[in-house]
């Protein structure tokens, strides 16, 4: 069953201007419930822009995005907020924790916006933190934790509301390989429980652990393992694209 249906989506910055940037260009994509998809691309390829649109954090310039059959463009701010709150859990490369709040308060935050009662949300937050192995660090502020711990707090926050979709943008980007592996392990665990995982990465090895790989370059999808088959060779242009892509910097 189709969860995400993206049709001919464009994201263009400064359109018509000399500095026009096409971050996404005619991207179409379908993702079903329960998939583990890795979106792979170089820095500036448009993969983060794609994730922001998929996560309802940004709106496409042109094209349609249907989430669970509903057109996102027609949703109100309140409806979008509800989707971001209940349906999607975000994990960012930069963790994006609120520095003034401690671990458990950060994890509670989505539940706060849901209007959950203090007792229940504390319970859910602690459960999520146990899941990522941080039950010892409940009262620590982000600055008192290592990068790996912070990212695990961010994961706990993403899963605290038990959303059906997890979107992770370079979740291991700021971590060493060992902690990175632990984070990936957690994601696979969630996938086994039926959560749809969309993983954005530039790391091919990490991408290979996913069920499906989508390669993106210069704002276009150049390879989709679900369509093009398992063989990377069917997209030989990928490696050639990687180097010059950095010139078109689009807020990765």
């Amino acid at each position: 069953m189709t969860l995400i249906d993206v049709r001919h989506v464009y994201k263009i910055y400064n359109e018509g201007d000399e500095s026009e940037v096409r971050a996404l260009s005619n991207v179409s994509l379908r993702i079903d419930y329960g998939e583990f998809v890795a979106i792979v691309g170089a820095s500036g390829s448009g993969k983060s822009t794609l994730m922001n649109i998929l996560g309802c954090l940004d709106i496409p310039t042109y094209g349609d995005y249907l989430l669970e059959g509903q057109d996102v463009a027609e949703m109100s701010d309140a409806e979008l907020s509800k989707i971001r709150n209940k349906d999607i859990g975000f994990i960012f490369q930069g963790f994006n924790l609120i520095p003034a709040l401690n671990a458990v308060e950060n994890v509670e935050l989505p539940l706060v916006y849901q209007g959950a009662l203090p007792g229940r949300r504390r319970e859910a937050a602690i459960e999520a933190l146990e899941r990522v192995g941080l039950e010892e660090r409940l009262k620590h502020k982000p600055t008192q934790m290592s990068g790996g711990q912070q990212q695990r707090v961010a994961i706990a926050r993403a899963i605290a509301t038990k959303p059906p979709i997890i979107m992770a943008d370079e979740p291991t980007g700021n971590l060493d390989s060992k902690t990175g592996a632990h984070v990936v392990e957690i994601l696979h665990g969630l996938h086994k429980e039926g959560t749809t995982i969309i993983l954005i990465t530039h790391d091919n090895d990490l991408a290979k652990t996913a069920d499906r790989i989508i390669r993106i370059s210069d704002g276009r999808i150049i390879y989709d393992s679900a369509i093009d088959g398992e063989h990377e060779e069917s997209a030989p242009q990928h490696n050639a694209q990687e180097a010059p892509a950095a010139e078109t910097e689009v807020g990765a």
Partner: protein, 393 residues
């Protein structure tokens, strides 16, 4: 999102930046303290004027006339005033003198001596406590009698009954025939009981002059006051050539009214200036909230990404600016109280207290200012696309 949680977050953010919060509050604190202090001081001054007038009694007219050319019109003026008939209740000369009073071995050095007529007490709002008042015959027959004020009675006689006793005033023996009741003194108005009243016709025994140039008239009511003033003015303008003398007719009532007008105006002007200070404080809040929004753009992005609605962000920032301004307002009231008490003591020598209404009003007004000036930054913060907000460093 629950309001309680929003308050918690607002407090966290306010306490997270104490120095800035205090500086922001300072604008509101100064504004509110200024409003309260200025308005209270003017109010206190006005109250003390009013109580002065009330102490003297209403419908009172003071007439003063003086000539240089030896053509004394005092007697004619007195007759004219007495002949106002229906309009007036009483007329008395209002000459005063100071003297040394003695009863046996007790001395008083600086009491006020009034040279009055039988209408002295009516005109000056004194009530008789015991004995009798000055009478027409006392005046007519030069009786050496006096009616003494409550303070003098207590100081000279203690618990003995003063009636019928003889006191020596500036070397002349006078028989005490009556005692006036104590007036209700206030911190602003006092000394009214440290006096004696004697027939004006015996003034020459007490004072080294016996000259009367002023009268106090008690009119029947308000309209009579106006009418009497008009008539006396007309009489004096005929009787006195401006080149050879001058005169003045006034009533504390109209004086109070014009003073009230003045103080009301003063109140408005000073309150307005203080209000501007408050407004500037509000702009300070808006400024700092804008800075806060800019600084916390990323945090706003995070909050939106995990499901905060626009309204939740707006509420959070409004509560923050509301708390800053309201706490500032309350501190302002506190400082306003202190300033009012200190300045009231220094300037008017009174214990002044700001009115409850203006205190509560100032706090509410600063809350309105905080929320009013917080709206723009809050809406600005909430309107950001999550992805744009997240991109901020």
């Amino acid at each position: 999102m629950k309001l309680g949680q929003a308050f918690k977050m607002a407090f966290k953010s306010i306490l997270g930046n104490k120095a800035r919060t205090v500086l922001t509050m300072l604008g509101i604190i100064i504004g509110v303290a200024a409003v309260i202090t200025l308005v209270s001081l003017v109010q206190g001054y006005q109250d003390s004027l009013t109580s002065w007038v009330e102490m003297q009694g209403t419908n009172r007219i003071n007439v003063y006339a003086h000539t240089y050319d030896g053509n004394d019109i005092t007697d004619e003026l007195y007759d004219f005033c007495l002949n106002l008939g229906e309009l007036v209740v009483g007329v008395t000369p209002n000459t005063t003198y100071w003297g040394v009073m003695q009863y046996k071995t007790t001395r008083m050095d600086s009491s006020t001596i009034y040279f009055g007529s039988e209408h002295f007490s009516v005109c000056n709002n004194y009530q008789l406590a015991s004995g009798r008042d000055l009478a027409y015959l006392d005046i007519e027959d030069y009786h050496k009698v006096c009616v003494i004020g409550a303070y003098v009675a207590e100081a000279l006689f203690g618990y003995t009954d003063p009636i019928g006793k003889t006191i020596t005033v500036n070397g002349t023996d006078l028989t005490v025939v009556g005692v006036y009741a104590a007036k209700e003194e206030t911190p602003q108005q006092w000394g009214y009981d440290d006096m004696i009243a004697i027939p004006y016709t015996v003034s020459r025994f007490i004072a080294d002059y016996s000259y009367t140039d002023g009268f106090t008239i008690k009119a029947k009511d308000r309209t009579s006051t106006t009418e009497a003033i008009t008539r006396i003015n007309a009489f004096l303008s005929m009787a006195i050539n401006p080149q050879n003398g001058y005169y003045n007719v006034n009533t504390p009532d109209t004086q109070m009214e014009s003073d009230n007008e003045l103080t009301n105006m003063l109140s408005l002007v000073l309150g307005g200036i203080a209000g501007i200070a408050l407004l500037v404080g509000g702009i300070g809040i808006m400024n700092i909230m804008l800075v806060t929004v800019t600084e916390r753009t990323r945090e706003i992005g995070i909050r939106k990404a995990i499901g905060a609605k626009r309204s939740a962000i707006v509420t959070q920032f409004l509560i923050e600016s509301g708390i800053i301004s309201m706490v500032g307002g309350m501190l302002g009231v506190l400082f306003g109280f202190i300033l009012t008490v200190v300045l009231g003591k220094l300037i008017f020598d009174l214990i002044l207290m700001p009115q409850l209404l203006i205190s509560v009003g100032s706090v509410l007004f600063s809350l309105v200012i905080g929320i009013g000036f917080g709206i723009y930054p809050a809406v600005k913060a909430s309107g950001l696309q999550p992805v744009e907000a997240l991109r901020a460093v």
